[in-house]
Symmetry: none
Subunit: 431 residues, 2 copies
């Protein structure tokens, strides 16, 4: 099945925004057994959009002879997903371009206008008249409901090509794809017949680097295998993907299982979760299962640890309280850190991390306390205490254990790594 993703927006073509939609859609399509052939990005230019839609829809005369492509004489795509250009402003031209390609007019779709009006009622804001254009749909097209924002999507046929137009705002695009496009694509795939389905499993690893993992896995990561095994890293979380191909979901899925088992055997407790799991969700699950609670006191991470732990709906069940004690006074006043300890060892020290962890645990009446103090940078480092130095304390009923880390990179990276390391310490303790 010949599938193309088109992204529309001057901000993309000028490089001001990085296109994450095309990659996200590609992953969704892969899991439906659809391999995308091409991503194409064009600006907010009506001629460029019209030209691209005609070409991918196979309705331009040249398209039938478009050389340099091995797909035979008719090069029309079977499915095209388009994102962007459905907003309310004058540079949102997708619906106009589609009407031009279909040689039809835009027509008010009353149910969409009603939905947009209700959207603003819920927000308790007046609807601007410019939003009305978002309810204008080319005649003969179907509407895809938007349950997140104002712009409805559009399903159209250009020649023999099924084209789905989605908003460019990632949250709206994703929700619309899941709710309105996925099932339609499944039907198209089933009807098509020449199916090769991909199955995926991703294992998430903390505590060791990509090159060490490559050494541990060695032969398993070779190319051309089925499943393919590869890895990516972000903020010291390494994600190992297993990708298998098969004639159907069951066959593809069956190939995953032995490889996953072997990976887990080799990597042991480094593996903290799979697929949608995150450190906060895994730690949250372990706390809930053990009926345990946690409290945190953060200096250099400034609330990020609390934020991550409370990203999970239902975290009120195990997250007792958090303190952001950025200043020495806050550490002393609210976490009962001894001023003499700060005086003797400095605010960034094993002792203060220990006091923060123990203080948070005790004050909140939690089973575990985490305390973080460090130098996130970019300034404030010394030879003895460099930027990136972070002490993390974990308190439980037996006392406090403190880990000393020096994290490389920017302020943001240091803070993220510190938070991930703190969550992983708690995870390993809970195992």
């Amino acid at each position: 099945m010949n599938t193309i993703i088109i992204s529309i927006g001057d901000e993309l073509i000028l490089g001001q925004t990085i296109d994450t939609n095309a990659a996200w859609l590609s992953r969704q399509l892969s899991s439906l057994g659809i391999t995308v052939r091409k991503h194409i990005t064009v600006g907010d230019d009506i001629d460029a959009i019209v030209g691209q839609l005609r070409r991918t829809g196979g309705i331009s005369f040249a398209l039938n002879n478009e050389a340099g492509d091995s797909r035979g004489s008719n090069n029309a795509a079977d499915v095209v997903l388009v994102t962007g250009g459905l907003g309310p402003t004058d540079d949102d031209l997708t619906r106009h371009a589609l009407a031009k390609v279909l040689e039809t007019k835009l027509k008010l779709h009353q149910p969409s206008l009603d939905r947009i009006e209700q959207f603003f009622v819920r927000l308790n804001k007046p609807m601007s008249q410019t939003n009305r254009i978002q309810a204008m749909i080319p005649c003969g097209c179907d509407v895809l409901e938007n349950n997140v924002g104002t712009a409805p999507g559009i399903a159209a046929r250009i020649g023999k090509t099924s084209v789905f137009f989605l908003p460019g705002v990632p949250a709206e695009m994703k929700a619309m794809f899941d709710e309105s496009v996925k099932d339609k694509l499944r039907q198209i795939v089933s009807a098509g017949g020449d199916k090769k389905v991909y199955a995926y499993r991703t294992l998430h690893i903390y505590g060791t680097g990509e090159s060490n993992i490559a050494e541990i896995l060695g032969d398993m990561m070779g190319r051309g295998r089925n499943p393919v095994v590869n890895s990516t890293a972000a903020h010291s979380i390494v994600s190992i993907r297993i990708i298998s191909r098969g004639p159907d979901e069951e066959a593809a899925g069956a190939l995953i299982e032995p490889v996953e088992r072997e990976l887990r055997r080799r990597l042991g407790d480094f593996v903290f979760g799979c697929d949608e799991d995150t450190l906060p969700s895994v730690v949250g699950g372990l706390l809930r299962r053990g009926d345990m609670t946690v409290a945190v006191a953060e200096s250099c991470t400034g609330g990020l640890l609390a934020k991550e732990l409370t990203d999970i709906s239902g975290s009120s069940g195990y997250f007792k309280a958090g303190w952001v004690t950025y200043s020495n006074n806050a550490k002393i006043d609210f976490l009962r850190v001894n001023p003499a300890t700060i005086e003797s060892f400095g605010a960034v020290s094993e002792q203060v991390a220990s006091d923060l962890a123990a203080g948070a645990r005790q004050l909140a009446g939690a089973d575990y306390g985490l305390g973080i103090t460090g130098i996130a940078g970019p300034t404030g480092g010394t030879e003895e205490k460099p930027v990136g130095l972070v002490y993390i304390g974990l308190a439980d009923e037996d006392g406090v254990k403190v880990a000393r880390n020096v994290f490389p990179g920017s302020r943001d990276r240091v803070r993220r790594r510190a938070v991930n390391t703190a969550m992983d310490m708690l995870r390993l303790k809970l195992l």
Copy 2:
């Protein structure tokens, strides 16, 4: 000048990696006065790469009639930048595809092989024989030196089109572009004569939506103007870009200024900053200038407000302390919220937001206190108190002001909007 960027890689087409190269190159080209017309991404497929190179190089017969495009009969690009597929493995097919397009053979380029060998000597690692292929260059092409990694780049002419092949690894691609491609492009631009340089300014807006802004700006956002004015939105922050074209940097820059002034006049205090400014940096700057301090108490945002405020290096100067009082007990124990208040009005109420703000301010001895309580969802909503309901209190010496909001969207979106709204309340107070 008709310019196209082509990215090559299965990891891109499968969505496993997000393409940041195309956006980076687009920005570099813009600053040289070159507008990119299209980004195209294809997989590690020799036919797809060959087809794409032929088409953009204008050497396929159909290309001269490629309909649906308004650029006249010969649609060959003037300049094409290609990234990816120059690695040493079997799925790196770019050089093979280029040789096929040029109907020539690959030939060993001894200086490149020497460089690759030296690269491994410096790393103190043996060179794999597979790296040898990276020194194979199609006859008649020029080599672009790689001072960061092993893969040399290639400069070629396909028909009348100048094509530059760069590695896909971002650090290698960027260095090679800066060292070997930029000057060549400058020459092409000068030779072309129609040189146009772009200047940019972005204004960031909080407190009103894209459609209302479009109404306020109306005529200013029309297409084909110079400067062009357009907008994007993320988490209710709207960014308005002003993009001007001129014969040189000074002329382009001069066009920005009157438009920026008019935008600021029309939008007033909705404009919170420009270019690299963020809400935390602007609020931080205002606090620092006024020698003021802030403390925060957060329920549903779980530490995100404290995290954002402390994203700024030097925020210890104005950020006194933060509390994450996720549970009722934490609100009562640590922020002195009256249990009777929670009993009467509920934890998500104007009264509790007010108590949290006042408590944080008083306990920390800060000039301002921010308190947030709400229902981030996805569960926990009722008819009276729906998901997305968030009360935000701002305390100062005169008392507390509380704003009631209902934010749409996911848990993450509700939390981000609540934090942005809280920071904007403080910003408006500080103005």
